[in-house]
Amino acid sequence: MRNKLVLALGAASLLIAAAPVWAHHAFAAEFDAQKPVKLKGTVVKVEFINPHSWIHMDVKDADGKVTRWMVEGGSPNALFRRGVNKDALPQGTEISVDGYQAKDGSNRANGRDITFADGKKLFVGGSNPDEQPNAK
């Protein structure tokens, strides 16, 4: 019992140590690190919603069978401030997604990297120490 408690506390402190990389929720609770996926397909629709955005896409396999996937992104608010809106990802756009599949095996994944057909990354980040886009 005591060991279990120590284990639980240890796990909790790990979670807290990892806090700066948390999204709105723990992605490890929803997706499976053992199930990396690479999806290639076309955008069906994008939901820029809080707390997290979702990109719906059709993925065609080698036999031509089409499967609908949902890919989870982040809060759209920061993107809007960077000037990105729904026009950034119109229906029919070809994209590739690197991510991890949902634990329950459903066709959902997180979007670790989203890449256009020409190899450009979508939503590449604003981590430039010389600018703080949000502060005036």
Binding site: A26, V84, R112
Partner: protein, 320 residues
């Protein structure tokens, strides 16, 4: 230069910076609203990468030198960068999505303090019995329903959205609106509107009965010179700011110290959790509006995903 001389130079520099920040607070006279209140209105951001508590490797160092600050910013931005794909699958998954979705900031605070906590001077929250911030409710057992997941995941409360208000990894934006008898703070994260009644000599507005407990507590404000002072009590037993209890007394101070800056300070007093009151200082800088709505429950597909994940884990453990 000897180590002693370096230490002395740091102390002198720290002292002069502290004095500077105090005197700048004293000198600036903020504009007034049409009805004569010091004007705090507008949209503000408290984004910064200065940590709440002083990291162990900066113990004894209250201020960065400018060069150290730039290095700290560079290192922190690199560490935070969610576009990294190193560290294995678990680390990769915990970074969730590309860096563009985040808005953690890239700068330390202008005072070059090494922690947001300014009192005690060691920059550490004086937790009783070295108590760390506890795990969110529900962690440590598989969630059976939404109530077993944490408050932010349930879209109820964000631990930094306030009160008191602290920077987080995105949505660090606040709009302050002043009307007769009230100040309203619209918080982008979780989308709370704090409606703060203002006490005046002629119209005292005491706190609600101690039996009434609220997620955001019961806030009452008054003016001390150019500073808006807001006292909040009557928290419920689930808010637990930094592992504090429902009897936490919070005092926030908003002072416009420059045209584009509100110096925001808060003091937390809760003898059940802390050995003494402690204070943090965070600059709020004017930023572009508007506040964007954070309609969290409506889009929280992830709750279903996390509960489905827990059921999948159970099946796997049972060998089915």
């Amino acid at each position: 230069m000897s180590a002693k001389a370096v230490a002395l130079a740091i102390v002198i520099l720290a002292g002069s910076l502290a004095a500077q920040s105090k005197s700048s607070q004293g000198k600036y006279v903020p504009p007034r609203t049409p009805d004569g209140q010091p004007d705090l209105e507008g949209v503000w951001t408290n984004v910064t990468i200065t940590p709440l508590e002083r990291p162990a490797n900066l113990a004894g160092k209250e201020f960065f030198t400018p060069a150290e600050a730039r290095q700290y910013e560079k290192d922190t931005v690199e560490r935070n960068n969610a576009d990294r794909r190193d560290g294995g699958a678990q680390a990769d998954l915990s970074r969730a999505y590309n860096d563009a979705w985040y808005d953690r900031g890239t700068k330390v605070v202008e005072t070059l303090r090494t922690s947001l906590v300014i009192d005690p001077p060691d920059g550490k929250i004086p937790r009783k019995g070295d108590r760390r911030a506890g795990p969110p409710p529900g962690f440590g057992r598989p969630p059976e329903g939404p109530e077993d997941r944490s408050l932010p995941e349930r879209c109820i409360l964000w631990p930094t959205a306030g009160p008191p208000m602290m920077p987080s990894f995105y949505n660090n934006n606040y709009q302050i609106v002043q009307g007769p008898g009230y100040v309203v703070i619209l918080v982008e994260m979780i989308h709370d509107a704090r409606v703060i009644p203002i006490d005046t000599q002629n119209a005292p507005r005491p706190h609600v009965d101690s039996k009434i407990r609220e997620w955001l507590g019961d806030s009452r404000g008054h003016w001390e010179g150019n500073t808006l002072v807001v006292e909040t009590t009557n928290f419920n037993d689930k808010t637990r700011f930094q592992s504090g209890g429902p009897n936490m007394r919070l005092v926030e101070r908003f002072t416009r110290t420059a045209p584009e800056t509100i110096t925001y300070e808060f003091t937390v007093d809760d003898p059940s959790a802390f050995s003494r009151p402690w204070t943090a200082q965070i600059p709020m800088k004017r930023t572009e509006g508007p506040i964007i709505e954070y309609a969290c429950n409506e889009g929280n597909y992830a709750m279903e995903g996390m509960l489905a994940g827990a059921r999948a884990d159970e099946k796997k453990a049972a060998g089915r």
